[in-house]
Amino acid sequence: MTLSASTLTKQTVPILLRAQLSSRGADVANLRNNRILALVDTTLETMAYRIARGGDYQGLRKDFSVTPVAGFTPTIGTGAIFDIARSQVRFTAGGAVLTPIDSLLTLTQATLPDDQTYYAQEGTGLRFRDADGTVTFASPLTITTNFIPLLSEVPVEYHGLFLDTLAGLMSEPRPEMRAQEMSEVGRA
């Protein structure tokens, strides 16, 4: 079997992780593939949130296609990490950008100029307000936002971060380390 370094796979991740841990002096003799693969999803999620909340959040984004029904879409897409300040919603046809509103109350009740289409976050989805002030919006949209990738979708430039994150999860962190790490994620 030939392994490619350009894409992370179920076969390459255990090899790369063991090499990394071994180079740090860790004992990897009992580090079995199943224990590594079982943590891949958690690693992808942890890594994706770190990127999404960090300064280089644009490095791991992709487009999601949604078509709201009656001015609402209950979800954005599988794995989407939607941050209204860091995401972009535009018409699939034409590419005009919609205007974000940070409050659902403002979207539905405030007086807003009628020449734009607005949206605000509602739960895990988005609520829209048409340019004419109605809330029956139903045009196809493209949403560019951060996301939790599949293993094969991790860009080459994030392979190191993926492995670092996975290595960190393989060993139980000390409580104070874990707390510090969580607060850093929250501040980003």
Binding site: M1, K10, R32, N34, R35, L37, D41
Partner: protein
């Protein structure tokens, strides 16, 4: 290493018993016996039993370099009776090694890696927990693990098929006879045979002398010695 030569061992036993025909200083064959208290059959049986004792010790001792002589590397035992749950074959001592074929289409058998039972069971039952990886898929990183319970002759594994290499005593030929203990362990065969051949009326120092040596040599076999020291003859005291 070649197996011990029965005739050489038997002649040494006869010589140390001083039972050869009075006309020869050293026995000329395994049946060159001139002592009415001894005969060729009992010597043959003593040597064969000692050979079996040595074979058993070798097979029971992982790490003994001669154990490989009792493992049929050309014909490992393929276990296919029930997928992922096999009954270990007849053997002496622990299973030597386990090889696994991950996918049915594979032609390569990889060395199996030991793994706790619960982990093997999880890998088989829950591919979703491992990136949707079936344990027996082509190139599956989950294939190649096994759990073995020697006490209940049970093995379970991840992957398509498993085969095991086990030590067995091999053919027991009491007639020719054909020994299988390696030549390096001949001193044990001699000492143990002499201890076995003790009869009522023999000098008790005789059995004690050779029995002690046989025990010491057996301990060395159990420790995996590559070579054994020669048997020291009992120096008979002047009457």
């Amino acid at each position: 290493m070649a197996a011990a030569d029965y005739i050489v061992v038997a002649k040494q036993v006869i010589s140390l018993l001083n039972a050869q025909a009075v006309t020869t200083a050293y026995p000329t064959s395994a049946t060159d016996i001139g002592d009415d208290r001894r005969n060729a059959d009992e010597i043959k049986e003593a040597v064969v039993e000692s050979d079996l004792e040595a074979r058993l010790a070798i097979c029971e001792t992982p790490g003994n370099g001669f154990r490989n002589l009792f493992i049929d590397s050309a014909s490992p035992v393929l276990l296919l009776n029930v997928p992922q749950a096999g009954r270990l074959p007849e053997r002496v001592g622990p299973v030597s090694r386990v090889e696994i074929k991950v996918n049915a289409a594979d032609t390569v058998w990889i060395a199996g890696e030991q793994c706790p039972l619960n982990e093997v069971q999880e890998m088989i039952a829950n591919p979703d927990a491992y990136q949707n990886t079936a344990h027996d898929a082509i190139n599956s990183p989950l294939g190649g693990y096994y759990y073995i319970d020697e006490m209940s002759d049970f093995i379970t594994w991840t992957g398509n098929a498993v085969r095991v290499y086990v030590a067995t005593l091999g053919t027991i030929d009491r007639t020719t006879p054909l020994l299988r203990t390696p030549d390096a362990y001949s001193p044990f065969l001699v000492a143990r045979s002499l201890a076995r051949l003790y009869k009522h009326g023999d000098n008790s120092a005789f059995i004690e002398w050779y029995d002690r040596q046989a025990r010491e040599l057996m301990a060395m076999i159990r420790l995996g010695a590559r070579v054994l020291p020669q048997v020291e003859p009992l120096i008979r005291q002047a009457a």
